[in-house]
């Protein structure tokens, strides 16, 4: 596991220029837009950066060599998940720092304080998205995964549109109004997001493990 982490950190650090550009883009977003969007954006981008190490592993028929090292499918999947978590957390921290800096310099600290409770929720939300793409990549390979991901998101979009057409748009305020008082706390909502994400991650992990264990090279 340690060797794989060293490999992935070094792979990410090979792209210092890209990292710098992403940081500058995030800083521009933080200072030119209102709200905490930059936090979600930075967490998502950092997660994608972590995810990209899978593409490097697969590139140039890299897997046969990788799995000739002291690595088995279980260790590989665990490490990849851990690495994506670390990248996502680093992005969340960087995004939060930029958001704080932007609020502090523009005198909008109230907005920062109001958002603070929701910021940790960006982590599980972006992580589930990243890990679901990782699963598709493991199953179909990098090339085909692009098409499969596009198709999956296309299907989700169509299903959502059909749902809205049949049920009508969801009124968040009305739904919230029907919830019991204790469920309306911000912390409860964030904890709920974490709980749902934890279940999703566990399912994704089990599926990823199965895919990698069954692969041949």
């Amino acid at each position: 596991m340690k060797g794989l982490l060293v490999k992935d950190f070094r792979l990410v650090l090979k792209r210092k220029q890209q990292l710098l550009i992403l940081l500058v883009v995030c800083a521009m977003i933080a200072f030119t837009s209102d709200g905490s969007f930059v936090v979600a954006y930075a967490a998502g981008l950092a997660g994608i950066l972590g995810l990209s190490t899978y593409a490097f592993d697969e590139h140039d028929n890299g897997f046969p060599f990788l799995f000739s090292l002291p690595v088995d499918a279980g260790t590989y999947v665990k490490e990849k998940y851990l690495f994506c978590v670390l990248c996502d957390l680093a992005g969340l921290a960087a995004g939060t720092a930029l958001f704080f800096a932007a609020c502090a310099t523009t005198g909008k600290m109230d907005a920062f304080r109001d958002s603070l409770v929701y910021l940790p929720a960006y982590f599980p939300a972006t992580l589930v998205l990243i890990l679901s793409v990782l699963l598709v990549q493991m199953k179909f390979g990098i090339e085909r995964s692009r098409l499969v991901t596009l198709l999956l998101y296309g299907c989700l979009f169509v299903l959502s549109a059909v749902f809205v057409k049949i049920v009508g748009p969801l009124d968040g305020t009305r739904v919230a109004g029907q919830l019991p008082e204790w469920m309306k706390s911000d912390w409860f909502i964030v904890a709920g997001i974490y709980a749902i994400a934890a279940i999703a991650c566990a399912v994704l992990f089990a599926l990823s493990l199965r895919v990698m264990k069954n692969r041949e090279y």
């Binding site: 490999k7 070094r10 490097f56 088995d72």
Partner: protein, 282 residues
């Protein structure tokens, strides 16, 4: 150390069907033309492909069940797969240090110096020979008890091949380990291997020791009119030529004694590949 038992791997257009046993502390060469199943056999040992039927055991364990700890005892160099081309030798050192408890970093660095491998240059800028040297070094610098080298000299010039083979001979001579090396370049393996397996069309057509090949095998040119009168048990493989048949025999002495008029020569590995691995088998 390695045991293939009725191993079968069936692909859509290719079938590998072998049984072989590789004991401890032997240097074993797998030879044969491209596409004869050498790399598939190596991948099966590493658990990278699973058998359709039969089994392959390494260190007494099914290859698919090898643990990371077992794998630490195996040094591998594959023909078409290696570290990311973005990495430098320095990155490779850091990764190997973190991967293997017994990684011999001073030896790795010393060898990089001896083989003129720059430490700060990305592998993508290395020549084919330099990449092969990095792969072989990575395989031999963590005290492995089993070395698996798949075509370590493929595509290299004479000088690079000689450097790698020289290094492997030195290593095999000074370490108590089993070495399995595949190649379609026979001269690389002569003088290095204790025994050979010749693969052809997904099957083992010959298993012989180095001394056995030298003492018993020979090539003989037999004219058309004489060919049918010679017992087929003395001819292991043959190929039709313009003068008659180019044959390989495992009874060289028989021909030398009974047919002094025929041109009989000791067989080299290339002759075996050509006449057993591609000619007609008997």
């Amino acid at each position: 150390m390695i045991e293939f038992e009725n191993f079968v791997k069936q692909y859509r257009d290719f079938r590998l069907e072998i049984s072989m046993s590789i004991p401890d502390s032997r240097v074993v060469g797998i030879i044969g033309k491209n596409g004869c199943g050498k790399s598939t056999a190596i991948k099966a040992i590493l658990g990278l492909v699973r058998p359709t039927s039969g089994s392959v055991r390494v260190f007494g364990r099914e290859s698919k069940d090898l643990t990371p700890r077992d794998r630490e005892k195996i040094g591998v160099s594959l023909s078409d797969s290696m570290f990311s081309p973005l990495f430098t030798v320095e990155d490779v050192v850091a990764i190997l240090r973190a991967m293997y408890r017994d990684f011999d970093e001073p030896f790795f660095r010393e060898m990089c110096g001896r083989l003129n491998l720059p430490s700060g240059k990305p592998l993508k800028e290395f020549s084919t020979g330099m990449k092969e040297k990095v792969k072989v070094l990575a395989a031999v610098t963590h005290n492995a008890s089993l070395l698996i080298l798949d075509e370590p000299t493929a595509g290299l010039d004479v000088e690079a091949r000689s450097e790698i083979i020289g290094f492997l001979k030195e290593y095999a001579g000074s370490h108590d380990c089993t070495v399995l090396i595949s190649s379609h370049i026979s001269t690389d393996l002569e003088g290095l291997c204790d025994e050979f397996y010749l693969f052809s069309g997904g099957r083992i057509v010959l298993h012989e020791t180095d001394s056995g090949i030298g003492s018993r095998y020979g090539t003989v040119q037999i004219p058309f009119e004489l060919f049918d009168s010679i017992g087929r048990q003395y001819i292991s493989g043959f190929k039709k030529e313009t003068f008659g048949y180019a044959c390989v025999t495992n009874s060289r002495e028989f021909f030398e004694r009974n047919y002094p008029e025929l041109k009989v020569k000791p067989a080299g590995i290339d002759d075996l590949i050509l006449l057993l691995g591609g000619g007609t088998e008997e």
